[in-house]
Symmetry: C2
Subunit: 385 residues, 2 copies
């Protein structure tokens, strides 16, 4: 285990019906709330109307940043910053998944930042203050409600970069499984793959002697697998709650504290895909991460044997190599994703074959990435085309 | 799983050598630090001299609350409060285990509280503000460095009560496994039992559908069991680090979030023992908790079958009852404690047989306890005498 700092001051309010606490929590920070309003099925769920009523009842005036689409765009961030500055917003509230909450974080520090805001993504400047942020999570996978991650796509430059400013912890995160009952099957499945993906980046980062972190990671993955029935029984609120909490813990820092802290390579590669094709992050991860795992396993299969045994009960028998057992574990995970209805090739995501070299090149230049070798990335992308 | 709120803003600084950050962290809160100085082996470790140098180098003046003994006493709390008030202390730093850190918490809010301070333990008054608290953990088990728990013994009334004020989260917790290398074997073993005990209170609280919490709890227990070699190889800093992190996560709220949130009955009973006999908490728990588990298992063995399988690989075969398998799991845990050199009877702790009815009666009156039936407590105490 490595030395580490763990700090996470977000107050989590978890459980069915807890959306009702939104007003009580948000009004601690002022009178004017800017709510991020994403497009898609969430619009019809009635949640924005409910949230508005609850905030109004707590004496708050509600503003909206409208028409926000998946893979939040830099232009929207700037639009939200303008609203904050013009209206004197006191708190920014993301209601939704990573799209809404990441954008809330970005414009909350953006409102108090100077100069060209893209500078803060390309590491030219650093954000050191932020408006308060509130998060209401309605999606699985993102975990954005309890971390500082903020990933934004610049439509002009076709770049998708993440920043992780310590000022970006939401003051509170409401995780109300009732709000997830209307999630479409495909979004649920993508979220489940995303949770597993978040955990596996650290699990296979090469750091040794992290037995407790590994148990927590395995516990998160097993909780997702053992509650997969929500795909067929979307109203099973108990199972949904279990996956929702797994989703938060997968990426709130606790599972990775003391690990290698290396860059998240599979995510870096996927970000190139979703920056250029606007695919859902969870679906992109289902494709790219499996391909990346095969690559890592071929380099060093030892931990993959451990994974295959702990997650899928695959025992290595005499005569089997570590590599063959490790590969078998990944095969089973890939089949699991397929059974959930997720894509398993880039082609299914609509990616054009000719763009793979560009994706590989750009992934290797991502300031968040770990100096990826473009030739290796290209091989991996080809392997899942 | 139940609805819950999880909030823990303590900044954890973990790893060998991290004591050196004490000055940098503490000096954020002012110039005058009161350090709790416990008696015992820690005095000879040189840690107080090192801490003083580090704090001085950061421009801080250091005061001490001296001669603090295990099971921190209310008289010492009052003495510390006086120092805080007279000297204008800016931050209270507990260096040690639960004794030092619990006392630091108590006198940090005590310094700003009004009236009779024992009123705050018997639920007559509530503390709502506190001086900043820093924690340096040198002991396994307590977990006090990352929670709000503060348990104090009133020598006059022979009461040992805990309070859990939200203002009592340490601002920072330094967990430096190097500081634990000189821990005597018996303290290490007691700490290991205490960690397991912290996890088992919630694990067997009767709340259902907590699969992720259970995996985390099992991961903590297995990490302790799989790193028990520190008893024979006290300088194994990797294994020590793993148990130290398990110790913190066992009682920082993450493992219990969403569980029943019931009172910690085994702890309530043990507190009576250590209030009256000044035994080490970890050793007291090793005796009392095992006895309590047998009682719970006889009432409802289902979860104990799960425990026996997940922790000790005990499979239930056809023809076996749940009860017999559950009991077998507890037997193995008890043997483990014995193999670590821990007491397994109250007699070994020096408890007099005639006092058992009084212990049972007082446990049932503890304001922290869950309305324990004194007859049941007496049976349990007799069973481990």
């Amino acid at each position: 285990m490595n030395n580490f700092i763990f700090f996470n001051p977000t107050k989590v309010i978890f459980g069915a019906g807890e959306l009702n606490r939104l007003g009580e929590e948000a009004s601690k920070y002022g009178k004017k709330a800017l709510v991020i309003k994403t497009t898609g099925p969430i619009q019809k769920s009635g949640i924005f109307e409910r949230a508005t009523k609850i905030l109004n009842a707590a004496g708050m005036k509600v503003y909206f940043l409208d028409d926000v689409t998946p893979n939040p765009k830099f232009s929207k961030l700037k639009e939200g910053v303008n609203i904050c500055r013009e209206e004197g917003i006191d708190i920014v509230i993301g209601i939704g998944g990573g799209t809404a909450i990441d954008l809330a974080k970005g414009l909350a520090w953006g409102a108090l930042a100077e100069g060209d805001l893209w500078d803060y993504f390309i590491r030219k400047r650093v954000a050191t203050k932020s408006l308060p942020i509130g998060a209401v999570s309605t999606l699985l996978g993102t975990g954005a409600e309890m971390n500082v991650n903020c990933t934004i796509t610049n439509e002009e430059t076709k770049e998708k970069f993440g920043v992780h400013y310590p000022v970006s912890f939401p003051k509170f995160a409401i995780i109300d499984p009732e709000l997830q009952l209307t999630l479409p099957r495909k979004l649920t499945a993508g979220g489940m793959a995303d949770i597993i993906s978040h955990v596996l980046e650290g699990y296979f980062d090469g750091c040794e002697d992290t037995p407790l972190q590994d148990r927590i990671a395995e516990g998160i993955i097993l909780t997702v697998l053992e509650n997969e029935k929500i795909l067929d029984y979307p109203n099973d609120i108990v199972a949904r709650g279990n996956i929702a909490w797994a989703s938060t813990l997968a990426i709130n820092g606790i599972n990775d504290a003391g690990r290698g802290g290396k860059d998240w390579d599979a995510h870096t590669i996927e970000h190139e895909v979703s920056a250029k094709y606007d695919v859902r992050h969870g679906e992109g991860m289902a494709v790219v991460h499996i391909a990346w795992l095969y690559y890592l396993c071929k380099k060093d299969p030892k931990k993959f044997v451990h994974f295959a045994e702990r997650i899928f009960g695959i025992q290595k028998t005499s005569g089997q190599t570590d590599l063959s057992v490790g590969i078998k574990g990944i095969d089973v995970l890939k089949e699991k994703f397929r059974s959930w209805g997720l894509p398993i090739t880039l082609r299914e995501l609509g990616v054009e074959q000719g763009i793979l070299p560009l994706l590989a090149k750009d992934a290797s230049k991502n300031p968040e990435g770990g100096k990826l070798d473009p030739d290796i990335v290209l091989e991996v992308l080809k392997s899942c085309y």
